[in-house]
Amino acid sequence: MTVTDAPLELTSGDESPRRTLGVFARPTAATGWRSWFTTVDHKKIGIMYGATALFFFIIGGVEALLIRAQLWAPRGTLLSADQYNQVFTMHGTTMIFLVVMPIGAAFANYLMPLQIGARDVAFPRINAFSFWAFLAGGIFLNSSWLLGGGADGGWFMYAPNSTVTFSPSNGIDFWNIGLLITGIASLTGAVNLIVTVLNMRAPGMSLMKMPIFTWMTLVTQFLLLFAIPVLTAAQFLLLFDRNFDAAFFDISKGGQPLLWEHLFWIFGHPEVYLMILPAFGLVSDILPVFSRKPIFGYTFVVFSGVAIGFMGWGVWAHHMFVSGIGPVSVLVFSMATMFIAVPTGVKILNWTATMVGGKIKLSAPMLFCIGLITMFTIGGLSGVTHSVAPADTQQTDTYYIVAHFHYVLFGGAFFGFMAGFYFYWPKVFGYILNERLGKANFWLMFVGFNLTFGPMHVLGLQGMSRRIYTYDAGYGFEFWNRIATIGSFLLASSIALFIFNIFYSRAKAKSLPKPGPDPWDARTLEWSIPSPVPAYNYDPIPTVERLDDFWYRKYGETEDGRLVRIASTEEVTQSAEGEHNVHLPSPSYWPLVAAVGLPIVGWGLIYTWWLCLIGGLLTAGALYAWALEPPDDPEAGHHHDPHEGSAPEGELATDEAESGDSEAVREVETVG
């Protein structure tokens, strides 16, 4: 990405074709549906992550409703035992890998570059590839429904249940290869976003001046960077076992099922934290806005997040207390699990203290934030009860566990994401979601959520097993199961209300004034640019002097500590009007093509080897074309450049930029 004097010219899709490799024309469209397939813009990619995740959320939600409908009454007959296994496995897998993780990625992609004052991520094309690989993996995983049934071993896929002997259908192969593909997406995304945070901050934006969401994104991506390869290693073993008859989990050859459990949870526990930390980051940025106070103890919030990131690696065996790991291990992992509650508690305390004494405005985003704090606290406390190994022995594999992790994942992560949706909607799409519907949305979701998962605590302590497709009458399970099922349909209707609100508010927005750059009177940098955000983000790149820099451009303090407005919003925000001489990275086909090859290899591994060949060649060819294609179309600035006689050649771009101003040189680093 080079800054040249050329005006922003990316909108015309009908120019003479530009050739890369002498064969293919480089895509040029920046608007219209075609542009979404070739875009390298972090904002569009973020929106696509979010939209795709919501689509998979509906699929996973339907699976959840099937589970609850099956458990409505004793001896339910909606699903067979085998179908039930598939549905709960795919529900868990979908919600974790295709919903919560990608919504985190959506916010990270869209917001993080804005919060650090960057024009894009470090490697825009790799960013596009990450998204397409995630989508390809998700489609591949769900294609199992059409090709003989989904995986049926639970989302943790314990050995030896996952071997061909015990699960002869192809479901687990789809699970395995699908998650390997999304793993590639996560890994490339992690590398990309870490480099962006470390290398591409605006002048003056030191690490300790970054918004907390950006900090949590950094911790999350480091967790992904180191956790995903552990799962990948375990999945390779499973792949070789299932598809090439290896002996890794073959008991008759001395395979150890516990090896899988260890590898899976070494990945699985950091995974838990990397799902919740983005939501923590969102809440930490939203609460101060609606409390009209700075976050209480910024450094504590940051470092407790970092501490969670580190300690998350030392607690994995608390998922395995009943697997016979021995008293020493149980003791060590019990203690570690109790300790990790401390930094989480620090965050809860800081959020509460942020609200204390603030002028709290209970808008929809704020309601969802408070929902997260309360619901996550309940989930966190039931989590601490698991760290006590004797109690955990009773709770393992009961609905008590199901209640716990839904309180942290739905009540924690998803409430945080809902807060983020309501808060950032005007920034992303240029209209505010209806406030009254938003409040109704919150209360419906809050009540539905608690009705669904609250009773599961009771069911679990009464001894109802999870993953059992039905139960007998007379154990006292009927009442609470009915409540839970009613709650789940309320929860589903709250999601429907949210989707309705999106379209309703968009229709209404035409007759309402535009929200402007800063509708919430917010604190962080992304509110200083127009809504929706222009393609170039910032022009000029801001210089940051302190934490919440944007807020302190609007407000000052009198000598007796009272807050006074020192500048109007118009004075401190950027305008989309006028000339913006920013040259952006050019769109490309190759990330999409490279990602399309991956699931073809996957189907090939399951069905026939020649598909592997086709998919492999497609991906390899796309990677070569990608490597040979300059990150910026050398001709893109040429046709519209009023100041220079000759277009910059691909290789000269660096030299030219180095002679430019410091901003220009920084932009050159975008090469991916």
Partner: protein
């Protein structure tokens, strides 16, 4: 540009990286990726250590098949390829394109020799009755070393690609870093083999 008069005072080209850290994005990305690879190979090495001995009566064990002198020789070959790789990086930093190509060829050939040695070793083991599915030891051994072999092969492909780029004149000095990045990957593959050679082959 090749300067036949390359003297002692040649300036090394170091591009200025005006990033927050002063490290170029690609180099930081490669190191992050390598840090991540540590956990991938760690998982496979751990699997091997857990499964090091087959159950009784299920084919040969490590002591019966390993040929330490042969593996030592191929380890040495891979180690020396790291030297030629670093000399290739050093050559392009000085703008010496002829030596760059020579060292790239040397590195690729040494890498190929290593892979050929691995193919020979696998064939020999197979003939001694150690198939991939024979025992937990054989699965873990072939899985780990095969995975490493694939990494070496990918490295060779990247080296050859660099060579072709250079021959077509598309690898000027200011792109020296792309050779260095490929070099980092190559050295990492060597690092993994240093671990495998000691932990898998030498320590019983």
């Amino acid at each position: 540009m090749f300067d036949p008069e390359v003297g002692k005072d040649v300036e090394v080209f170091h591009p200025v990286h005006d990033t927050n850290t002063g490290i170029s994005n690609t180099k930081l990305a490669m190191w992050l990726f390598l840090g991540s690879e540590c956990l991938l190979f760690g998982g496979l090495i751990t699997t091997y250590l857990v499964y090091k001995y087959p159950l009784a009566g299920q084919g040969p064990g490590p002591e019966e098949v390993f040929d330490i002198p042969f593996t030592s020789a191929s380890s040495f070959v891979l180690l020396m390829s790291s030297l030629t790789m670093v000399l290739a990086v050093s050559a392009i930093e000085r703008g010496d394109h002829h030596r760059l190509r020579a060292w790239l060829v040397a590195t690729a050939l040494l890498g190929s020799a290593f892979v050929a040695g691995q193919v020979y070793e696998f064939t020999a083991f197979y003939n001694e009755g150690l198939g991939f599915t024979t025992s937990r030891f054989s699965s873990a051994f072939y899985g780990l070393t095969g995975f490493h072999g694939v990494h070496v092969t990918v490295g060779i492909i990247m080296l050859v690609s660099m060579l072709l780029l250079s021959l077509r004149g598309k690898l000027p000095e200011h792109k020296a870093e792309s050779v260095e990045i490929v070099g980092l990957y190559w050295h990492f593959v060597d690092l993994v083999w240093i671990l495998i050679f000691a932990v898998v082959y030498l320590i019983p």
